[in-house]
């Protein structure tokens, strides 16, 4: 399904299946980072209040917590079950290895220690340049650790339009063309009626309506899609 416009990274499993990973771009990652930053700020604030009550020992606790949050907050969550910090989880992102496997502790530590390098020359400058320049949106730490930040896949809804009657196609269709007609039917609920008519007119030959367009033709093209996925009258 990968095409020239989609930013998709394929990872092959030992079973010979290509897994499709969709790297997350700058905006999603920035928002996830901002959320994590706010969470950390809240924890630091709470710890400062508690630490104050405990005196010298409390100060040690506070400063060690600062240290741990600085360096290991992402590591702790990334090697957990979800593979994502709370911020990434909210944004529907997760960290995986290049081969699609859960991130290993070593890789997670590496990518997070190298944040220092990503942060330079100021405010994550190198990370931003790297994410924008690379198709797989890796920052420097991801490069060294062989990790990817990807979108968690969302479920694609089943083709609905059950009220459309199946229509027998008027010409033999190559698998590629069949797939195109079916994909149009899948997208139908997300398109405006006018756009759907325009697109269906391009495929009108399948229902024997070449050269014509309109509501009726669209209905028949969608009917062909119903027939192609296996519904019979």
């Amino acid at each position: 399904m990968a095409s020239e416009v989609d930013a998709v990274v394929s990872a092959e499993t030992p079973e010979g299946i290509l897994l499709e990973l969709r790297p997350a771009g700058l905006t999603a990652r920035f928002l996830a980072f901002a959320l994590d930053w706010l969470i950390r700020l809240a924890v630091i604030y709470a710890a400062a209040i508690v630490g104050q009550l405990l005196g010298g020992f409390g100060f040690a606790f506070f400063i060690i917590l600062l240290f741990a949050l600085d360096w290991f907050y992402p590591v702790y969550f990334e090697i957990g079950r979800s593979g994502a910090t709370p911020g990434k989880k909210i944004m529907g992102l997760k960290v995986v290895m290049d081969n699609g496997l859960p991130v290993t502790p070593a890789a997670s530590i590496t990518r997070n220690l190298l944040r220092v390098a990503d942060f330079l020359p100021f405010l994550y400058g190198f990370a931003i340049v790297s994410i924008l320049m690379r198709a797989d949106s890796k920052r420097l730490g991801d490069l060294a650790a062989a990790t990817l930040v990807v979108h968690e896949p969302k479920a694609v809804p089943k083709i609905k339009l059950e009220q459309v009657e199946p229509v027998i196609p008027r010409q033999a269709l190559a698998p590629r063309d069949q797939a195109a007609v079916i994909a149009l039917a899948a997208r139908a609920p997300t398109l405006t009626a006018e756009r759907l008519d325009e697109l269906a007119a391009l495929a009108a030959a399948v229902s024997g309506d070449a050269g014509r367009s309109g509501r009726v033709v669209t209905h028949r093209v969608l009917g062909v899609a119903q027939w192609l996925i296996g519904r019979r009258a």
Binding site: T13, G16, G56, A60, A117, A144, A186
Partner: protein
Amino acid sequence: MTPLQFEERYQAEWQELETALDLILERKKFVLGAEPPRGERVAALYRRACEQLALARARSYPLFLLDRLERLTADAHQVIYQRRELGAEALRRFVTFEFPAAVRAHAPYVLVATLLFAVPLLVVGLLVYFRPELVLSVVSADNAAQYEQMYSDAAESVGRVRGASGDWAMFGFYIRNNVGISFQCFAAGLFAGVGSIFFLFYNGASIGAVAGYLTERGLSATFFSFVVTHSAFELTAIVLSGAAGLRLGHALVAPGRRTRRESLVHAAKECAPIVYGLAAMLVVAAAIEAFWSSQRWLPHAVKYGVAGVCWIAVLAYFALQGRSAD
């Protein structure tokens, strides 16, 4: 076979796998009528799903089918090829073998890092000792005065500004400060090693300047008895962080037969144990510095004795530990 027939035929298998994955990944705590998942069954279902996905792709089946199979196989893949790297056994192996072996494997880098650190330390130290005014070109006048006060006979605990917080607070401070510096020294190696070279050189020069200055002011007894014990861990760890950073830089500059990216990934993987190990060493150093080195009532002879044991132990650990398994 039409997509709907295909779906109908394999539906039951997919549902079984989905239920098993939901339970394993704890997306659901409990599924009515489902048995606890068995490993070999999940693996078998996963392999079947892979075949079916390949078929579905080859036949250009509609997206909802491909998508369901893709998510199914991706989740199962993550579950089946998961690696558990944490645990007591892994820790024991790390301490007794991996860490010292990784350091030995990087001996040339460690040597270069040692020189980059020790040479400026000695040169600047001697320069400042013979011409004390030079200390001002490395540290500010205020800092120099502060150091002098920290190691003077009047200080309540050695190595601290008067009235500073207690042992525990300093412990926390040393951890955050020192481990942070060493991580930076490592990460800066990503820039062709230049960053690590800078950090090694800079730290060497500043430590040398302070040591030279305090010796010249006649505070050498207090100063050296203070630093000698924890420096066994602290200075070694700084050198190791530089060595790991140099390794990263070298991998980028001279990738050999790999691509630059592969070379970097490989180097990062190989020097990762050094980075974990040095972080642990710095925690040990922080504990010694906060609870032992700063104690005024300990006689200098005892401090030097313990320091000797620490230095020999650290050097012997890297030289010998786990060698038989190499």
